[in-house]
C-alpha cells in the first residue's frame, strides 16, 4: 500500500507533466489547475508517507541502511527490490556464469530522505502558486518543466540504486535549464548554460567515483558481487574495509578512498555549493523565475548535501575523516563567512538571498563533517530549515518584484507601512533564518555547532561568526526595505496591494512547517538521523587511519 504511494509520488507529476504539455498554450487556467492539483496530491501523499514511517519506527534496523516501503520487495527481504531495469545476467549462461547484479528500480524511504521528500512536495505547491500570475507566456511548457523537475527531485531522494540516483540527479538539470533559459531574467541564456555545464561537469566525475566503488566491490570480494544497490554496496565496502588489514589491502583502500572521496566530492560540492565552486549559484538564482529560485535554493542544493550524507560518508569513511574534516570543514567555514560578506555587499535583494544560501549551506556541510551524531542531526535539520527559510525568502522577493518590478534595495524604504502582511512574513522568516531561539533555524544551527565543537574547535568558532554576520545582512536588509520612511518605486497601471490570499496560500505551508518543526523539531530530526547515525559509528569501527 505504502509502496504504491511511493510510486505515485513519482508518477503523478510525470503524468501531469505530459498532460499539461499536451493541453497547449490556449488553456492556461486548466494547465495551472492541473499542476496545482498534482502538486497538492503529491504533498498529501508525502505527508501520509511521513506519518506512515513515523509509526513504523520500531522496524528500522539500526546497523545499515534499510529503506522501507520499497516497491517490488518480497516478504523475505522487505528492504530490497526485485524490479530490475538492466540485468547484467541477461543472455548469460545461467549454469556456468556467476550471478551478476542488475541496475534496479530501487526506491524507498528512510529517516534521511523522508523530510526532504516532504520539503520538495511542499515547495512544489508554493512554486505553482507563486507562478500563477507571474508566468503568462508558454504557460503549458513552464508547468510541464516544473512538474518534471519536481518528479526528478523526488526521485533523487528516493533512489537507492546508484545508477538510478545518478539518472535522477542529472534529470533535474534539463527542466531547470529550460526554466531558467526561457522564463528567466535578462542574462538567462548565459545563466542557464553555466548552471548546466557546471553541475554536469561535477556530476560526471561523481559518477566515475561511484562506478569505481562498484568495480572495486566486484573485484575485491571473493565471490565477485556486482551490485548497484546503495545499501548493499555500503555493506560490502565496509566489510572489505574491516577485513582490509587481514588481506593486506589496507594501503590500497586508503588511497582508493582518497580518490573516490575526491571524485564524489566534486559533483556534490558543486551542487551544495562549497566556496570555490559556488559561482554558478548567484547567477542562476538571480536569473531564474521565482518558482525556479525557490526549488533551486530549497531543494536542488540539498541534493549536494544529501549526496554527501548518502554516498560520500559511507563509501569513503576513512577519507571523510582524514581529508573530509579538514578540507570540507575549512571550505564550509570560508563559504559561511565569504557568503555572508557577499550577501552584505549586495544591493539586489534576490542576490542577497542567493549569497545567504552559500553561507547557510556551509552550516550543513560543517555539521555533517563534525562526524558525530549531534552534528549530523543538526546538519539534516539545517537542510530542511534552510529549504523552508530560503524558499520563503525567495517567494517574498518574488512577490515584491511582481509588484514593483525592481529588486534593488535602494529603490525601497518603509514598505512596512504599506505591505503589512508581507512585512510580517518577511520579518518572521528572516528571524528564523538568522536562528532566533524559538524558531526552527536555531535548533539546527545550535546542533551543528555543538557537534563541531567536539571535532574541531577552531572551525566551530570561526563558523559561529556566520550567525552574527547573517543577522547583520538580513537585519540591514529589513531595515532598509521595510522600515523607515515610505518610499516605493513608481509603478504604472495597477495599484499595489498587500499580500493576496493566493500568496498566503503559497507561504502558509512553509510557515506552518516552520512552526511544527520548531515545536517538535528536535524529536523529529533526532528520529531522522537516529536511523542513520549509529550506522556511521558502526562503519568506522575498524581502526581509523592515523
Amino acid at each position: 500500500m505504502m509502496s504504491v504511494l511511493l510510486i505515485l509520488l513519482l508518477l503523478i507529476p510525470a503524468a501531469a507533466a505530459v498532460a499539461v504539455a499536451c493541453l497547449g498554450q490556449a488553456r492556461a487556467l486548466l494547465v495551472r489547475q492541473i499542476t496545482l492539483g498534482a502538486t497538492i496530491a503529491g504533498a498529501v501523499i508525502a505527508l501520509v508517507l511521513a506519518f506512515g514511517l513515523l509509526t513504523q519506527r520500531t522496524d528500522i534496523k539500526r546497523d545499515t541502511y534499510s529503506p522501507t516501503f520499497v516497491p517490488g520487495s518480497t516478504a523475505e527481504n522487505p528492504h530490497a527490490t526485485t524490479w530490475n531495469l538492466i540485468d547484467f545476467n541477461a543472455g548469460r549462461d545461467a549454469s556456468t556464469q556467476k550471478k551478476l547484479g542488475a541496475i534496479q528500480f530501487y526506491i524507498g524511504l528512510d529517516g534521511m530522505n523522508i523530510w526532504l521528500i516532504v520539503l520538495t512536495a511542499i515547495l512544489m505547491v508554493s512554486s505553482v502558486l507563486i507562478s500563477w500570475n507571474a508566468i503568462d507566456e508558454r504557460v503549458h511548457e513552464f508547468h510541464a518543466w516544473l512538474l518534471l523537475l519536481g518528479c526528478a527531485l523526488t526521485g533523487v531522494f528516493l533512489a537507492f540504486d546508484i545508477i538510478l540516483f545518478y539518472v535522477f540527479f542529472e534529470l533535474t538539470l534539463v527542466p531547470l535549464f529550460f526554466l531558467i533559459g526561457i522564463w528567466g531574467g535578462p542574462e538567462r541564456r548565459y545563466a542557464a548554460r553555466k548552471f548546466f555545464i557546471y553541475t554536469l561537469a561535477g556530476s560526471v566525475v561523481t559518477l566515475l567515483g561511484l562506478l569505481a566503488v562498484v568495480a572495486v566491490c566486484y573485484h575485491k570480494t571473493g565471490d565477485h558481487v556486482l551490485t548497484f544497490s546503495i545499501p548493499e554496496l555500503v555493506t560490502i565496502f565496509n566489510n572489505l574495509l574491516r577485513s582490509a588489514e587481514a588481506t593486506g589491502d589496507r594501503a590500497f583502500f586508503q588511497s582508493f578512498q582518497f580518490w573516490v572521496f575526491l571524485a564524489m566530492m566534486t559533483g556534490f560540492a558543486i551542487k551544495v555549493p562549497l566556496f570555490p565552486v559556488h559561482t554558478w549559484l548567484p547567477l542562476a538564482h538571480v536569473e531564474a523565475p521565482t518558482a525556479g529560485s525557490v526549488l533551486l535554493a530549497g531543494v536542488l542544493l540539498k541534493m549536494g548535501t544529501y549526496g554527501f550524507l548518502r554516498l560520500c560518508l559511507p563509501l569513503a569513511p576513512d577519507a571523510s575523516i582524514t581529508i573530509g574534516v579538514p578540507l570540507i570543514g575549512a571550505l564550509s567555514v570560508v563559504g559561511i563567512i565569504y557568503g555572508a560578506l557577499c550577501a552584505r555587499a549586495q544591493d539586489d535583494i534576490k542576490k542577497l538571498v542567493a549569497y545567504s544560501s552559500v553561507s547557510h549551506l556551509g552550516f550543513c556541510t560543517l555539521g555533517m563533517f563534525a562526524l558525530n551524531s549531534t552534528g549530523l542531526t543538526g546538519s539534516l535539520m539545517q537542510m530542511i530549515n534552510h529549504g523552508l527559510s530560503t524558499g520563503a525568502l525567495f517567494l517574498i522577493v518574488g512577490m515584491i518584484y511582481e509588484r514593483y518590478h525592481t529588486r534593488m534595495m535602494g529603490d525601497y524604504s518603509g514598505l512596512g507601512a504599506k505591505l503589512k502582511g508581507i512585512t510580517f512574513c518577511m520579518v518572521f522568516i528572516s528571524l528564523s533564518s538568522v536562528g532566533l531561539p524559538g524558531l526552527n533555524g536555531f535548533v539546527g544551527e545550535a546542533l551543528v555547532f555543538f557537534g563541531m565543537f567536539e571535532t574541531g574547535k577552531v572551525l566551530a568558532i570561526l563558523g559561529t561568526a556566520g550567525i552574527i554576520l547573517g543577522a547583520w545582512y538580513l537585519m540591514t536588509m529589513l531595515r532598509q526595505v521595510f522600515f523607515g520612511e515610505l518610499k516605493e518605486p513608481h509603478v504604472e497601471g495597477h495599484e499595489v496591494r498587500d499580500i493576496t490570499p493566493r500568496e498566503i496560500a503559497a507561504l502558509a505551508p512553509i510557515m506552518a512547517g516552520k512552526e511544527i518543526r520548531t515545536r517538535s523539531g528536535l524529536e523529529i530530526s533526532s528520529y531522522s538521523s537516529c536511523s542513520w547515525c549509529p550506522s556511521w559509528t558502526i562503519w568506522i569501527d575498524h581502526d581509523p587511519p592515523v
Binding site: L85, I86, D87, F88, N89, A90, G91, R92, D93, L100, I163, Y166, V167, E170, L171, V174, F177, F178, G181, I182, R188, R189, A192, R193, F196, I197, L200, A201, V204, V205, L207, L208, L211, A212, V214, A215, Y218, H219, H224, L226, W259, A263
Partner: protein, 530 residues
C-alpha cells in the same frame, strides 16, 4: 595438388551470399541507371537489395566449417563479430539510402546507391576478415566507391576540393597501412590474422624481445593507417574540411561508415577478439597485445588526444557540419578508451568488456549523429539554408516536434541518462574504472579525462538546444522536409531512446553477453603452430 583447406575454402561462398547479393544489386543499379533516371525507383531497388541481403544473412549457415587448423588457412571468419558488423552495415546502408534520397540529382541516384551497396558489402567483409590481404581489399572496397560517392551529389568547387582531398589522404593512409601489414608479414611469415596472432603469442620472451622494434613499427603504422579512418588525432585533420565541403549526405556518410570499418579492422588486426582456435600460453591472458604490449599505451594516448582535441576545437565551430565533424572526432576518442582498456577486461571474471563497449558505442554514435544529419537534410533549402548553428534558431516554435527530437539527440551526444549516449559512456567508463592490476591507475585517469571531455562537449551540444528553444528566428524555417529523411530521423531518435531504457537496454545486455562477442580468453597452448 590440392590445397589442404580446399573444403573449408569452398565452404566460404555459402557464407558470402549477403555480400554477393549486394554486389549483384549494385551492378544492376549501375546498368539500370544508364537507361532511366528515377530516384524513387532506384532508391527502392537499393532498399530491396539491402533487405534481401539481410534475409540471406538470417538464413546463412550458423557455423563455419573450421575442422583442424583451418582457422589458420581461411581468409574470412564468420563469427559473432562478423555478424554484428554485417547487421550494423546493412542497417546503416538503409539509413543512408533514406538520407541521400532527396539530396541527389535525379540522374545520379542509381550510381550513388550502387556505390553505397558496394561500400556496405565492403564493411561487412571487413568484419569477416581473417587475412591481411582480404582485409586490405575489403577496406579498399569501402574507400574507392567513397570517392565516387563524395563527388556525385554536388559538382561545385567545394565539393570537388573535398573529394580530391579525401581521395589523396585516403590513398596515403592505405599506403601506410600496407606498409604496416608488410612488417607484420615479415614478422610472422603469414598473412593470416589468426596465424600471425598465434605466432606472436607463441613467441618466447627472448624471441619477442629480439623483434620488438619491428613489432612496434608495425603497430604504429597500422594504427596510423586505420587512425585516418576513425579520425583519431593526429590523423583527423581532413575530416572537418571535407565534411564541410561535401554534400550533407556525403558528410553524414564520412562521419560514420569509415569509423565502423576502421574500428572493426583494428579489433581484427590487433586481435582484440582472438579467433577461436588460436592457442596462447597461459601467462599471456591479455587480448590485443599480441603484437606488442605497448598497444594499450598507444591507444591510451590516442584516446586522450583525440577526445580532447576534438572537443576543444568543436567549441569554436559555428558551421553545423564542421561541428559534427569535430564531435565525431571526440566520440572516436571515447571509443578508443574502450580499446585501451579492452586488454585488461578480457578475463572471464570481468563484469564488462572493452570490445562490447566499443561496438555498443559505435551503434550509439551512429544513431545520434545520423539523426542530426537527417535534421539538416530535412530542413536545409537553398533559399533558407541550415548551415550554421544560428540557422536553427526558433526551431522550437516552428517545428516543436523536430526540436524535441534534436534535443533528445543532443542530450544523447552529451551522454545524458535515459539516452543511448549515456549507456555507451556508462559501458566505456565502467570498463575503464574496472581495470585491475599494477598500472590500473592509468585507466581511471583516462576515464577522468573522458568525463571532463564529456562536460566540455556538453557546452556546444547545449548551445544547439539553447538556440532552438531560447532564441527566435529572423526567418523561420518553413519546410517540413521530405518523407525519407523524416523517416530516418524518427528511426534514429526511437533507437536512441529505446536502446537506453528497458526493455531495449535488456536486449543490448543480452547481445553483449554473447560469449563470442566478448574477447575470448585464449586457451592454454595445446595445439601445434601452423
Amino acid at each position: 595438388m590440392t590445397h589442404p583447406y580446399e573444403v573449408q575454402l569452398a565452404d566460404l561462398f555459402r557464407h558470402l551470399v549477403p555480400e554477393a547479393v549486394l554486389i549483384v544489386f549494385a551492378c544492376a543499379l549501375f546498368i539500370g541507371g544508364l537507361y532511366k533516371a528515377d530516384r524513387r525507383l532506384w532508391g527502392g531497388v537499393a532498399l530491396g537489395g539491402l533487405a534481401i541481403a539481410f534475409l540471406t544473412l538470417l538464413i546463412a549457415p550458423a557455423s563455419q566449417n573450421l575442422a583442424g587448423n583451418a582457422v589458420f588457412g581461411v581468409p574470412l571468419l564468420f563469427d559473432q563479430l562478423a555478424n554484428v558488423t554485417r547487421v550494423l552495415a546493412l542497417a546503416t546502408g538503409a539509413i543512408f539510402i533514406l538520407l541521400a534520397w532527396d539530396d541527389l540529382p535525379e540522374k545520379q541516384a542509381a550510381d550513388h546507391h550502387a556505390c553505397l551497396l558496394v561500400i556496405i558489402a565492403g564493411v561487412g567483409l571487413v568484419g569477416c576478415s581473417n587475412d591481411l590481404v582480404a582485409l586490405l581489399l575489403a577496406l579498399e572496397l569501402v574507400s574507392i566507391p567513397t570517392y565516387v560517392l563524395l563527388y556525385l551529389p554536388r559538382h561545385d568547387d567545394n565539393a570537388q576540393e573535398a573529394a580530391i582531398k579525401y581521395f589523396l589522404l585516403s590513398v596515403f593512409s592505405s599506403a601506410i597501412l600496407l606498409f604496416g601489414f608488410s612488417y607484420l608479414f615479415g614478422l610472422t611469415g603469414t598473412t593470416n590474422i589468426a596465424g600471425s596472432l598465434q605466432v606472436l603469442y607463441g613467441a618466447s620472451v627472448d624471441e619477442a624481445k629480439s623483434v620488438s622494434g619491428l613489432a612496434q613499427i608495425a603497430m604504429l603504422t597500422i594504427a596510423a593507417g586505420l587512425g585516418f579512418r576513425i579520425t583519431a588525432v593526429p590523423f583527423h585533420f581532413y575530416a572537418p574540411d571535407v565534411m564541410q565541403g561535401t554534400s550533407t549526405s556525403g558528410a553524414a556518410f564520412l562521419s560514420f561508415v569509415p569509423k565502423i570499418a576502421g574500428f572493426i579492422a583494428i579489433v581484427r588486426v590487433f586481435g582484440f577478439v582472438v579467433p577461436a582456435g588460436v592457442a596462447t600460453p597461459i601467462e599471456r591472458t591479455l587480448v590485443g597485445i599480441g603484437l606488442s604490449d605497448q598497444v594499450p599505451t598507444l591507444f591510451w594516448f590516442l584516446a586522450a588526444l583525440t577526445m580532447t582535441v576534438g572537443n576543444i576545437l568543436a567549441l569554436l565551430q559555428d558551421n553545423l557540419k564542421r561541428l559534427l565533424a569535430y564531435s565525431g572526432i571526440a566520440h572516436a576518442g571515447y571509443m578508443l578508451i574502450a580499446l585501451a582498456a579492452a586488454p585488461y577486461l578480457s578475463s572471464s571474471e570481468s563484469a564488462t568488456s572493452g570490445v562490447t563497449a566499443l561496438l555498443f558505442y559505435l551503434v550509439a554514435y551512429g544513431c545520434m549523429t545520423l539523426g542530426v544529419f537527417a535534421v539538416i537534410l530535412m530542413l536545409h533549402r537553398p533559399e533558407r539554408p541550415v548551415e550554421t548553428v544560428d540557422d536553427l534558431a526558433g526551431l522550437s516554435i516552428s517545428h516543436p516536434g523536430v526540436a524535441l527530437m534534436v534535443t533528445v539527440l543532443m542530450l544523447s551526444l552529451i551522454g545524458f541518462p535515459l539516452t543511448i549516449g549515456f549507456t555507451g559512456k556508462f559501458l566505456v567508463f565502467f570498463g575503464a574504472v574496472s581495470v585491475q592490476g599494477p598500472i590500473a591507475w592509468l585507466y581511471p585517469t583516462l576515464a577522468i579525462i573522458g568525463v571532463l571531455n564529456a562536460a566540455i562537449g556538453a557546452w556546444y551540444y547545449l548551445r544547439i538546444i539553447a538556440v532552438m528553444y531560447l532564441r527566435s528566428a529572423v526567418k523561420p524555417i518553413e519546410t517540413t522536409g521530405p518523407l525519407p529523411s523524416r523517416t530516418a530521423l524518427i528511426v534514429c531518435v526511437v533507437l536512441t531512446v529505446l536502446l537506453a531504457v528497458p526493455p531495449g537496454a535488456g536486449w543490448i545486455m543480452t547481445a553483449a553477453a554473447q560469449k563470442a562477442l566478448r574477447p575470448t580468453q585464449p586457451a592454454a597452448m595445446n595445439q601445434p603452430q601452423p
